[in-house]
């Protein structure tokens, strides 16, 4: 027991969890749990009128809307409820948002893949429409008038001819007695009547955010909790041989040392294993770890070195690989063609480095586990915790706090499982806190990838044959260590769907064994695929002496719908008839960004240049123009970025602009300094000094975002801005310097 413990206990442990605040996501549930109600109950469930799992209306007119998706900065916690509120014709000021726990009744909750709006737009609209229909019925009944004569007007039902009005709150009780209507009876509002869709709103949590009241996973706490920090095997699959369990206990505040079992392959979302130090505060746990003096058995992944691995990937890509798409006969053309261009592109492993390191709080009690975690995927938390603890999934309650960034890392709940395992062993609440070093060394990295590009060119420099091979350790390797080929879900990401109208095209993918955990990172495989295709396109344009914009438009060709004959193309899980791949939309954003950026009137050469790239990902079409200035020392500045996007219907334009501004910065980090490497299986980087991310003076000075006005169904906005930015940035560097970036980050070519 340290003095810290005593002081904290005396002054601050007053029972219950987490101090009050607008975003105390767990607190409302906890007393209900204790008083015998079901832990998943929401205020919406208990509201007077409750026509949908997402919605409740109380007698005082309060509208409860359940946010079932995680909030990590993309504003989905605000934007989806906004869609429901619009269809309900509710006053946004009277809406209260509550965060859902992990529960399959909400459908998919894995907040990844830029699909929150796309997948839940209809569900939100139907929920709002159902309640509005019922409220109108109740009012009509009360007034003895036909329902067709009634309408809604911002939180009230009105009967114009008799000038009668009734608020949603006062109608709630009577409405609750009516049957829930069938979908066929409902009519959605026409676009002309939309209040919020297309106009947007700032974050529901904005004031809490700027005053330090917002509660993240890092801020969650429970009465009686202890803190844990875990020393994990430095090489994937390693095991503890021996450790010192005496010295750490001499550190003030350290209570206990607990081993965590190594995982049985495949790693999936299991804890990595290692030794946990349990203490009275976070810092004491960190200090105790330094005294563990662990000896490791590193296992087979000790052979992994990034330098030689890069050579292996490249060698693989220089030989025939598995054909994943073929049009015409590229080899026949190569055999007789005089002019052939070839290039190798390479992108290293990338770490997520969200500002909030991984963290989770768990309480195992009476055979049930309750978690508070910044997770993108609470149902996956339920799965892994139930497996690790040997309890039913229903006995795992996962509260979702705000996330201090996620970028895909927090879809993998290994860190939450650690907390659960430790809480069971300790018999009290445990909060596991990852250091930044842990966060960078034990990531699920974006795959290292090597791309070989080859084109034969004819008149006008246009390709007569095109071959592209990519080789990267695939994400499915975390679920089956023998998986070495890219799967359709990742080959589709800017690779099998190359948008050019090419008479002879062959796309291949080669095998690569993973030695670290590979995972989803914002934009995923699109990062390396778009980099290779869009920079190679720029190479061919320059080789032909043509303007890169004209050349790009020439390759995209006339508007058409891409047909995926003989290709497994999942289209990001969306139906191709609802979300066809339309090259005309890519062409349109390319023309739009060219016009808005003043392409053609901009300076080139002598250290200044602009570059362009276009790419569709997550069903959204984006074109980007980047301007750079490069001085004699190779220092690169980015004065201006222009981005045009067609994401179909955009519910929240302000949040969308913010996502694309952020994508330019995320892309800047990847291109300028993003590189994770391993030596003998151990990750070389550890913190922001050797895994730098972009700081304020390094990012674009000005990013302009142009949104195409579209009635097409909504598509993604969180990820699609990143891939074309990186390619356009490297193309701009070529325009400014004549040096072609083929290996990322740009420091490889002497730029900074």
């Amino acid at each position: 027991m340290s003095a810290i413990e005593n002081v904290s206990r005396r002054r601050f442990l007053t029972g219950g969890i987490v101090a009050a605040g607008a975003l105390v996501l767990g607190v409302r549930y906890y007393p209900k749990f204790s008083s015998g109600k079901l832990p998943h109950d929401t205020n919406a469930d208990h509201a007077t009128l409750h026509p949908s799992v997402y919605l409740g209306i109380d007698g005082d007119g309060t509208v409860w809307i359940v946010a079932s998706r995680s909030e990590m900065g993309s504003t989905s916690r605000t934007t989806l409820p906004l869609v429901l509120a619009d269809e309900l014709d509710a006053d946004w000021k009277r809406v209260k948002i509550e965060q859902a726990i992990g529960d399959k009744r909400y459908g998919d909750q894995n907040t990844d893949g830029s699909h929150s709006i796309r997948s839940f737009y209809d569900a939100m609209r139907w929920a709002g429409a159902t309640a509005r229909f019922m409220l109108i019925q109740a009012a009509a009944r009360r007034w003895g008038v036909p329902a067709e004569e009634c309408e809604t007007d911002l939180h009230v039902v009105v009967h114009r001819s008799t000038n009668r009005r009734a608020g949603y709150g006062e109608l709630a009780t009577a409405t609750a007695e009516l049957p829930v209507p069938k979908r066929e009876e409902l009519k959605l509002k026409p676009k002309s009547a939309w209040r919020y869709i297309g106009k947007g709103e700032v974050s529901y949590d904005l004031e809490a955010l700027v005053t330090g009241k917002a509660i993240y996973g890092m801020d969650a706490r429970l009465d009686g909790m202890v803190y844990a920090s875990v020393e994990r095997p430095p090489v994937l699959g390693g095991k503890v041989k021996s450790y010192d369990d005496k010295e750490p206990l001499k550190v003030a505040g350290v209570r206990q040392i607990i081993p965590i079992d190594p995982f049985q392959p495949p790693p999936a979302f299991q804890p990595l294993g290692g030794i946990a130090v349990i203490a009275d505060n976070t810092w004491a746990a960190f200090q105790g770890r330094k005294k563990l003096n662990i000896s490791w058995d590193n296992g087979p992944n000790e052979i992994y070195n990034s330098d030689s691995y890069k050579n292996e990937l490249r060698a693989t890509s220089h030989n025939p690989c598995k054909v994943v798409r073929n049009v015409g006969d590229a080899d026949a053309v190569f055999a007789k063609s005089g002019k052939v261009h070839e290039a190798d592109y390479y992108v290293p492993l990338l770490a997520h480095a969200a500002m909030e390191p991984l963290v989770a709080l768990a309480e195992f009690k009476d055979g049930k586990a309750t978690l508070w975690a910044p997770t993108q995927n609470p149902q996956a938390v339920q799965d892994i915790v139930s497996k690790e603890l040997g309890i039913a999934k229903e006995d795992v309650i996962c509260h979702v706090t705000l996330l201090g960034g996620g970028f895909g890392r927090k879809s993998k709940p290994d860190y939450v499982a650690e907390a659960a395992v430790l809480s069971k062993q300790m018999g009290r609440p445990v909060k596991v806190v990852w250091t930044r070093e842990d966060d960078i060394k034990f990531d699920y990295y974006n795959a290292v990838a090597s791309m070989y590009m080859k084109a034969a060119v004819g008149a006008n420099g246009k390709p007569t044959a095109w071959l592209q091979r990519s080789v990267f350790p695939p994400i499915p390797s975390i679920f089956d260590v023998n998986e070495v080929y890219g799967d359709p879900a990742h080959l589709q990401q800017g690779w099998t769907d190359i948008p050019y109208d090419l008479p002879n095209l062959r796309i291949e993918n080669g095998p690569a064994k993973a030695h670290v955990r590979i995972g989803w990172l914002r934009s995923v495989a699109n990062i390396y695929h778009a980099f290779a295709i869009q920079c190679f396109t720029d190479e061919l344009a320059h080789a032909a002496g043509r303007d890169p914009l004209d050349y790009l438009l020439d390759l995209i060709g006339q508007p058409r719908t891409i047909e995926f004959k003989g290709v497994e193309y999942p289209n990001y899980g969306a139906a191709l008839d609802a979300y066809p791949w339309e090259t005309g939309r890519l062409r349109k954003v390319t023309e739009m960004v060219a016009e808005k950026s003043g392409w053609g009137n901009r300076k080139h050469g002598k250290g200044t240049g602009v570059g362009i790239a276009a790419h569709r990902s997550f069903l959204t079409y984006v074109a980007t123009v980047v301007e750079v200035e490069v001085n004699d020392q190779g220092e690169v500045r980015i004065p201006r970025v222009d981005m045009a996007l067609d994401a179909g219907l955009v519910v929240n334009p302000e949040a969308t602009r913010a996502q694309f501004e952020g994508a330019a910065v995320f892309g800047t980090s990847v291109a300028r300094s993003g590189e994770i490497t391993a030596t003998k299986g151990v990750i070389d980087q550890s913190n922001f000094q050797d895994y730098p991310v972009a700081r304020i003076a390094e990012v674009p000075s000005q990013t302009n975002v142009y949104i195409v006005d579209s009635d097409a169904p909504p598509a993604g906005v969180g990820e699609p801005g990143v891939p074309p930015f990186i390619a356009a940035f490297c193309n701009a560097i070529f325009a400014a310097t004549g040096k072609r970036v083929r290996d990322l980050p740009i420091t490889k070519l002497g730029f900074s």
Partner: protein
């Protein structure tokens, strides 16, 4: 015992003098507005004011906070919202927001010393604060808006 003031309140601390101020604020006082981001003073998420100066609380030992006045984002403006916080709302700066408490404290200290900072001065002052979501363009705009408000 180490005596200090936090957000205007007298506090005394009898634990490890090497304990970083950040963990005293977070784990002892449970003022969680100051965030843990890197632990080595590289990201700025933990920024507080110590005697009015922007300070990385993750690398400031309690012994060095003795006798000092510490202000966290929760205590930046006792009457409500500081002009920097208002500007952050007006320009809609935050995305995930985890770093923004530190950004706000850094910006408030900047505007205490410079009434109308240039772009270059803003970049200089804010270069120790990382935002992984990439809100830098809005941070710059919000600092200018706050400067105007405070003029």
């Amino acid at each position: 015992m180490i005596q200090l003031k936090v957000n205007g309140l007298e506090q005394s601390f009898g634990g490890e003098p090497e304990l970083p101020l950040l963990w005293y604020l977070r784990d002892v006082l449970w003022l969680t507005g100051s965030k843990f981001g890197c632990g080595v003073g590289l990201c700025g998420a933990c920024t507080v004011h110590v005697n009015g100066q922007a300070t990385r609380s993750c690398v400031t030992a309690m012994r060095d906070a003795a006798g000092k006045e510490v202000t966290t984002v929760e205590g930046l403006d006792k009457s409500g919202l500081h002009p920097v916080q208002k500007a952050w709302m007006q320009i809609n700066v935050p995305q995930c927001d985890y770093c923004q408490g530190g950004q706000i404290m850094q910006a408030a200290a900047l505007l205490d010393s410079k009434k109308n900072p240039t772009d270059h001065e803003i970049d200089e002052a804010m270069s120790g604060n990382i935002c992984r979501c990439g809100t830098y363009q809005r941070i710059r705009a919000a600092i200018k808006a706050a400067a105007e408000e405070m003029a």
